[in-house]
Amino acid sequence: MFALVQVEDFDQGELYVKLKQSAEEKACGNTGAIVTFTGLVRDFNSAGDIDGIELEHYPGMTEKALMLLVEQAIEHFSLNSAGALHRVGRIYNNEQIVWVGAAAPHRQAAFDAASYLMDMLKQSVPLWKKEFKGDRSEWVAAKASDDKAALKWMHKK
């Protein structure tokens, strides 16, 4: 398992291999499904076009909270492994911002765990988005729909 917070862009292929190797180390031959998700920066918000986003984090806590989330996903969905990577700093439109992956014996657990990782990440990992256009910028408000998505998992488990 792994949890990474970094400024640099990432290679999905490398992360997939890292996750697959980690699952093989834990349960050789017993991984039947790997689901991965990659989030990108859209070029608009409710008010119009943007140039990108700036992501602030809490050095130390962000890494720990992301790792804790990965551990929880492994436990809740009996995964062989899981991983997450979140970028911070300035990220422009259409660039990759976040990646999560789950490796399980069967596909349903892997799909569910990938959703869980994203839903809970939006609740418990200290990261804050600011959208910018030119020299103007504005903080993104937390969404009620994100709260609902996370609550869904709390009721299930």
Binding site: Y58, M61, K64, V98, W128, K129, V140, A142, D146
Partner: protein, 82 residues
């Protein structure tokens, strides 16, 4: 006792203070600290009007949490990663 207070995102921008040391009575709760901060300046009063999350020693916690000497307390708005 002394604790370190850190702020992030809007809380940092509004208050203009991102890392300060506070001198508190022993066994103070986070709720007590928040009440004191509201009177520290108009900016602090404004920053604490909305929803603010609290973390003690880099773990999310509630405002009834009792602080200890040397703790790191962080205040920040609801998170918006992903």
């Amino acid at each position: 006792m002394h604790i370190t207070l850190k702020t992030f995102a809007q809380t940092r921008e509004i208050t203009g203070e991102d890392n300060i040391t506070l001198n508190l009575s022993d066994n103070s709760t986070i709720k007590t600290v928040l009440s004191q901060l509201k009177t520290r300046s108009d900016q602090w009063a404004l920053a604490l009007e909305g929803s603010v999350l609290t973390a003690r020693n880099q773990e999310l916690c509630d405002t009834e949490t009792v602080l200890s000497d040397g703790d790191e307390l962080a205040l920040f708005p609801p998170v918006t990663g992903g």
